[in-house]
Every structure is written in structure tokens, then in C-alpha cells.
């Protein structure tokens, strides 16, 4: 009995390892591969569609639809030189950058006041700003549209630059409050003992230390404003002022004759700036996303 129990494990080691590797493959790698394929397939499909000439795009009998047989840039050319697409890209970029700068600047000050100046009721202001983030744009756009019209901002980029901070600033403030918490208060106390004013402390000590937090707030604000749709749809009417997400859907889709190649090119190129931006800062992005949730 004893030697039976001792010797077989050694004899069985290679198959057991194989079984383990096999089990690991089936329970981990296979499902993970499925997830990655499903999550990325739409992007692959957009790319493939973009690169196909029309006769190939609508002919699944003679060409395998998963592959491109005779790639062409005809669709991209059409998008960039026969539509206002470059103009929409510039619009979106301007609006996103302006809204981002505005909201990050406003929320740095707010976060500093709430987290560092420690006035009475700071907690409640923080909570109110957090709750503001939970108000979805889809219940606000109708009254906001009337306000935008009344202020004479309808159909102007300024309407979007001023309204985007309503969902950007609460998020950034919340993120930066969390970030300021991680900066030791003693540093500020030291500076105060040395006779620095509060503004000097903010400018010379807290802000430089908070740069990573500012970067993540900026990334979030930029991607959120790049992706915004409902306000841009409701407040902008003329084609030349539209942002990419709205313009692709409303200007490129005309009638029932969808130019799928050009449409997919438009969708793909509209995603490229955020994807690039994101890939540079992916670690900031992931850590602040998860950090904000854990708060």
C-alpha cells in the first residue's frame, strides 16, 4: 500500500502535468481568447470593410468576407476629400480640448478647496458634486436646449464647451479629491510654517505633486467629451459645426443607400484619436478608473 502510494505519483507526473496544462487551456486561455476576439471583432470588421472595394463588399459568394482581396484606399479618400470629415475632426478636437481645459481647471480648484481647505460643510459640497455626476445627460438635454437657445448659443461650439463640463467637472473633481488625499498634508504644513500663502502652496507644492492626477483627469475629460453624443446632436444643427460622432451618423448616412465602406472609415478614424491618446496613457487611465471606483 505504502509503496503503491509513493511510486505512482512519480510515474504519473508527465500526464498529470499535461492534464493540468490542458485544463488551464480550456478554463483560462480558451475563454480569454473568445473574449478578446469578440471584443475586438467589430474593429477588425470596420477595418476590413473600409479597405474593400464596393464590388467585393457586397459579394460574399466569390470572396471570403473575412479577408480583403484587393485592398483599396478609395473609401478613405472619399471620406477625407469628398466630405467635410477633416473639418468635423478639427471641430471635435477643438471642443474636446476646450471643454477638457475648462473642466480640469475648475475641478482642480474645487477639489483643492474641498479636500485641503477643510471648511465646514466640505463633505456635503463633495457629496453634491458626486451626485451631480449621477444625473445622466439624457434627462437634461431638453431643458438645456431651451437654455442654450435663450443664451444665443444654439448651433455654436460654445454651447458644447460650456455644457460638457456638467458631466466632466464632477467626475474630475471626484478623481482629484481622491488624488489630493494621497498627497501628505505635512508638506503643506511645512510650507505654511515657512510663511507661504495658501495660493503659493497650491501653485508650488500641491499642483506639481498632483500632475499625474491632472493627467488622468485630462484623459478622462478628453475621451468623455470626444465621445459625447446627445448634446452635440441636440444643440448643433449646421453640418460644418458638427462633431465627428454626430456628423458620421447624420451627414454620411443619407437615404437608404449606405456607403458602408466610407461609413466604416469614418467610424474608424473617429475612434483613432481617442485610441491613440488612450494608448499613450493607458496606465494612468486604468489606475485612475479603478482608483475612482474604489474611493
Amino acid at each position: 500500500m505504502t509503496d503503491l502510494a509513493l511510486s505512482p505519483p512519480q510515474a504519473r507526473t508527465p500526464p498529470l502535468r499535461w492534464i493540468n496544462a490542458y485544463r488551464r487551456f480550456v478554463t483560462i486561455y480558451l475563454p480569454l481568447a473568445c473574449f478578446v476576439i469578440v471584443l475586438l471583432f467589430p474593429f477588425y470588421w470596420m477595418t476590413v470593410t473600409m479597405l474593400k472595394p464596393n464590388e467585393e463588399l457586397y459579394n460574399y459568394k466569390d470572396y471570403n468576407p473575412f479577408l480583403v482581396h484587393s485592398p483599396t484606399l478609395q473609401n478613405v479618400w472619399k471620406l477625407f476629400f469628398e466630405t467635410d470629415y477633416p473639418h468635423w475632426l478639427v471641430n471635435t478636437m477643438e471642443i474636446a480640448v476646450a471643454a477638457t481645459v475648462l473642466s480640469v481647471a475648475a475641478s482642480v480648484l474645487a477639489a483643492y478647496a474641498i479636500q485641503r481647505l477643510r471648511f465646514r460643510g466640505a463633505q456635503w459640497v463633495g457629496l453634491a458634486i458626486y451626485l451631480a455626476y449621477l444625473v445622466p445627460p439624457s434627462i437634461l438635454f431638453i431643458p438645456l436646449a431651451t437654455i442654450v437657445v435663450k443664451l444665443g448659443l444654439f448651433d455654436s461650439p460654445l454651447a458644447l464647451i460650456l455644457t460638457y463640463p456638467t458631466f466632466l467637472a464632477p467626475f474630475c473633481t471626484w478623481l482629484l479629491i481622491g488624488y489630493f488625499k494621497s498627497i501628505p498634508f505635512e508638506l503643506e504644513e511645512c510650507a505654511m510654517i515657512d510663511g507661504a500663502t495658501r495660493l503659493q502652496i497650491l501653485r508650488k507644492i500641491t499642483l506639481p505633486l498632483a500632475v499625474p492626477g491632472l493627467i488622468s483627469a485630462g484623459i478622462f475629460a478628453f475621451t468623455l467629451s470626444w465621445n459625447e453624443f446627445i448634446y452635440a446632436l441636440a444643440f448643433i444643427q449646421s453640418s460644418e459645426n458638427k462633431t465627428v460622432p454626430v456628423a458620421v451618423l447624420t451627414q454620411l448616412v443619407q437615404g437608404d443607400d449606405y456607403q458602408w465602406g466610407a461609413l466604416m472609415a469614418g467610424a474608424l478614424f473617429g475612434s483613432v484619436p481617442v485610441a491613440l491618446f488612450y494608448s499613450f496613457f493607458v496606465d494612468y487611465y486604468v489606475s485612475s478608473l479603478t482608483g475612482a471606483v474604489k474611493e
Binding site: W45, F119, N227
Partner: protein
């Protein structure tokens, strides 16, 4: 203030005066909070209140409305399309949230294993969540094409499971589930990455202790992972429920509420009635009707799950 700063006074004295003002805490607090609070009051709190008011008027585009009491709500309560949109929204939120969380949790557990190229996989997986929803929705629109759908091709010509194309968006039920699938696709990365962060905070010693006590894999998951994940889960669930419930982009991009108004969510119906339809009052009433659901969903998902936190005696931060 501006005129004071502009007057050419001796540098030192002006600095002193201004510096002292900015060093005075109540003033500094007010200055720091002013931009954010101002923006939020003008463009968030005021519209929210105005929305309530508009819901009780017959405002149209270009015409201020008269107070008409509950007329908007009465006419909506007799409107089958409105009730269909409420039903759709509830179905959409419930099924999509469950799908997102089951698949997202699974993906998070997979990513929590020891893997090669883990950070690359994690970065790649998040891509569906960062690209503009409308643009990925257009990819789904094309994937759901009645004639040239790649999924139909796969089932029909590659696997030979079907003989006809799948009509993804042509019938109400197929369209609803197609939309839900697209929403789940977009939501999985966010849920997975957040839950992964939650998983990584669980101390391995808890699993070791459970293993020493002879817990099986399922028991470890059920009695260690799930309870430890609850606080993160509560927050992510609250966010997910709110933003799925008020979703607009996917439906607007893929079906525009069609076929024949059967896939409208409350948000898209509010838009259709309010902006292109011009009935601002009615649109605002639909938006206001979303608020009780949103509040209820938030309270249930947050307090229902966060309760554990204070039961465990942690500080309530």
C-alpha cells in the same frame, strides 16, 4: 477687483493686500468653488429644475409654454408607445446589466490569473469602452445588416446551421436583443477592469486560510471573493444601471427606435418627441418620468449591496 489690479500701485503694497485677501480662507474657498459650482448650477441644477417645470407645460420649440398641470403625464399614460418604451427600458437595463456583470466578472477572474502579456491584454480589452459609442454602434449596425450581416454569413454559409439570413433589426424582439447584445459588448470591459481592481485588493492569505479549511474552488469564490468584492460591485453596479437605463446613443444609432417605434427607450422617445418633434413639454415629461426609476435603481443597487460595508464595521467614508 479688475480695476484695482490694473492700477499701477507699488508692487509690494498691492501684493500684500491681494495676498492677504487670497489667504483669507472663506474668500479662497469661495473663489475655488465658484467655477465648478457656478457651472453646475447654471447648466445642471437649473436645467434639472427647468425640466420639471417644462414637464407641466405645453412648451414647443420657439414658444414658451403655458402651465397645463398634469396633462402631459395623463396623455403619456394613455400612450401605448410610452408604456412600450418603459417596458423596453426596464428589459434593456435588466438583461444588459445582468449580462455585463456575469461576463465582466468572468473576464475579471480570467485576467486575475497569471498570464503572459497581461497588461497588453488588459489594455486591449478596454478598447470597446473608450471608443465613441456611436461609432462602434455603427459597426454593429453594419454587422446586423439584413443582407450582408457577417453573423448571418457565418451561420449560413460557413456553419450551415441556418438556410436564411437572420433578420436582426427587422422584428421587435430580434431588434431588442440585438441592441442588448451591443450594449453588453460595450459594457463588459468597464465592469471587468473595475472588478479586476477589486479582485486584486483581496489578500491572498484569505484564500490560503480558506484552502486550509478545505474549501473548494466554488466555496472560495462564494465565501471569499464575492463578499470581498461587494463594495466595488455596489459602486460599479450603480453606475452601470444608471447609464444603461438612460442610454441613448446605441439605440439612436442602430434602430432609431424602429421597427415602428418598438425599440424606443425612454431617452430616445424623449428626444424624438422633444427635439425633432418639437414637443418640448412632452419630451421633458418623459425625461422626468425616468427620474423615479433612476433614483430607485440607485438606492437599490447602492444600499442593497453597500449595506455589507457598514455591517462589517468599516468606516463610512
Amino acid at each position: 477687483m479688475v480695476s484695482l489690479a490694473a492700477t499701477p500701485e507699488p508692487m509690494v503694497r498691492r501684493d500684500n493686500w491681494l495676498t492677504r485677501l487670497f489667504d483669507w480662507k472663506p474668500f479662497l474657498v469661495a473663489v475655488c468653488l465658484a467655477p465648478t459650482v457656478g457651472l453646475l448650477i447654471v447648466f445642471l441644477a437649473y436645467p434639472l429644475g427647468l425640466g420639471f417645470w417644462l414637464a407641466f407645460t405645453d412648451a414647443k420649440i420657439g414658444r414658451a409654454g403655458q402651465y397645463i398641470g398634469l396633462d402631459n403625464f395623463v396623455s403619456l399614460s394613455r400612450d401605448p408607445i410610452f408604456w412600450l418604451s418603459v417596458g423596453n427600458t426596464l428589459l434593456y437595463t435588466a438583461v444588459a446589466t445582468i449580462g455585463k456583470f456575469l461576463l465582466g466578472l468572468w473576464l475579471a477572474l480570467l485576467l486575475n490569473e497569471r498570464l503572459p502579456f497581461k497588461s497588453l491584454i488588459r489594455a486591449v480589452v478596454l478598447v470597446p469602452w473608450i471608443v465613441p459609442t456611436v461609432l462602434s454602434a455603427m459597426a454593429f449596425w453594419w454587422i446586423y445588416d439584413p443582407q450582408f450581416s457577417i453573423i448571418s454569413y457565418l451561420f449560413k454559409d460557413v456553419l450551415h446551421w441556418r438556410t436564411t439570413n437572420i433578420d436582426f433589426l427587422g422584428t421587435p424582439w430580434a431588434a431588442r436583443f440585438s441592441l442588448i447584445a451591443a450594449n453588453i459588448w460595450r459594457g463588459i470591459p468597464f465592469v471587468a477592469i473595475c472588478l479586476l481592481a477589486g479582485l486584486q485588493t483581496i489578500s491572498p492569505s484569505l484564500y490560503e486560510a480558506a484552502m486550509l479549511d478545505g474549501a473548494t474552488g466554488w466555496q472560495r469564490f462564494r465565501h471569499v471573493t464575492v463578499p470581498m468584492l461587494m463594495p466595488v460591485l455596489a459602486v460599479v453596479l450603480t453606475f452601470s444601471v444608471i447609464f444603461t437605463f438612460s442610454d441613448f446613443q446605441l439605440v439612436y444609432a442602430i434602430t432609431r427606435g424602429g421597427p415602428v417605434n418598438t425599440t424606443h427607450l425612454m431617452a430616445t422617445l424623449a428626444f424624438q418627441r422633444g427635439i425633432p418633434g418639437g414637443q418640448l413639454g412632452e419630451g421633458a415629461a418623459i425625461a422626468v418620468a425616468m427620474i423615479p426609476f433612476l433614483v430607485a435603481a440607485t438606492l437599490v443597487s447602492y444600499f442593497g449591496l453597500a449595506r455589507r460595508k457598514w455591517q462589517q464595521g468599516e468606516s463610512n467614508d
